[in-house]
Amino acid sequence: MSNLKELKNKIDSVKSTRKITQAMKMVAASKLRRAQESAESARPYSEKISKIMSSLALGMKDSDVSLDLLLGNKDNTTHIIIAVTSDRGLCGGFNSSIVRAVKTKAKELIATNSEFKIICIGKKGADVLKGLFADKIIISSNINDKNSFLLAEDISAELVSKLDANEFATCSVIYNQFKSVISQIVREQSLIPCSIDMEENENKQDDDMISFEFEPDEKEILSDLLPKNLAIQIYKAILESGAGEQGARMAAMDSATRNAGEMIDKLNLSYNRQRQAIITGELIEIISGAEAL
């Protein structure tokens, strides 16, 4: 009898879990729409800025102006990894895949005897990475939806001042790129030296004859443009990861809801079976009792 009650309790608890996961899925779906919109509306600017960057870089080929922000610092081997994760959990393998990518990257860097430092954006990644590379983390900050552009600007300002102080050579960002609701791709993008799209470059080859006029000169524009580009690329990474997070959570919660449903079905079946067995047992008792009379 007690077994039957236990089963009943279990069914109830799974049912309420299903309600929670269902609600979380719906919340994620509505947040996803907003996050996707902001990620998409930021795209034209970042595309344009990288286009200008590539035209500038092409124009710079012949001149011997070299800026650390564009090419990286050659006197140092320290690499900075920016890991973009989410503030909240329950989104499947979203954060752990970033942590894994950071670990692989760190191993690579250790194998080549290079120093590395980590900047964590997002609480979840910071929590795990703190346990692994506590002494390597220089900045860890949470994502606040309202000021993610300010956050990106702060980090880029920090990077610029560190580069000026000759504290590191190269920098890359690792984040989840939003591809679709069910798939996020872990991407590593090099920020310093500045990564310039190969496709872009190939297209440019055709009209290589065009040389831009610069006003004021290249160097001044570049020194203005590069920090902005840095902030924009970090901002883009944060937005993409934000949209990816909601997508990942939606998918995770969807499968959790489905699993809960399956579990309830199974539990119901064994509950009914047991109830039937008890009734049958009682009937047999009554009948055999009547026969004995």
């Binding site: 902001s38 509306s41 930021a42 034209p44 600017y45 344009k48 800025i49 286009k51 200008i52 035209s55 500038l56 552009f149 009209d207 065009i210 040389s211 831009f212 006029e213 610069f214 006003e215 004021p216 001044e220 524009i221 203005d224 443009l225 902005k228 924009i232 901002y235």
Partner: protein
């Protein structure tokens, strides 16, 4: 110049694509002076100081405030990367004056040369905003 030649203008801010259309002429305030762009302009990349952006399309002139950024002209394609895009309605003169006062206060306090530079830049921006509002 043939009359049907047009410029392809795109104005983008970090948040969104503000405008994308074909226009006859664009006048903008570059860091080294204002300049106008007509179809057939040479390829140029320039930085922009806070100021007026004038767009002429079909004999109508549209005016906007640009809070700095960059412009690229290539093959009659004009791309403006603006840090901020405002119209006359978005600007409030008393608010700008408040901000200028605040900046002036801060400039006394800050010691770093870099900070001062950025504060001076924002004062310039607010002054340009007031100027823009007064004209329009």
């Amino acid at each position: 110049m043939a009359e049907e030649e047009k410029l392809n203008l795109e104005v983008v801010s970090p948040e969104k694509l503000v405008m994308s259309k074909s226009v006859d002429m664009v006048t903008i305030s570059g860091t080294e002076g204002d300049f106008g762009i007509l179809p057939g302009h040479a390829a140029i990349i320039s930085s922009i100081r806070p100021g007026l952006l004038e767009i002429e399309a079909d004999k109508a002139i549209e005016k906007m405030f640009i809070g700095g950024g960059f412009i690229e002209v290539l093959n009659d394609k004009v791309s403006i990367l603006a840090t901020e895009v405002l119209t006359s309605n978005d600007i409030n003169i008393s608010e700008c004056e408040d901000k200028i006062n605040k900046c002036n206060d801060e400039i006394g306090k800050s010691k770093k040369e870099l900070d001062k530079e950025s504060i001076l830049k924002s004062i310039d921006k607010y002054q340009a905003m007031i100027e823009f509002k007064n004209i329009n």
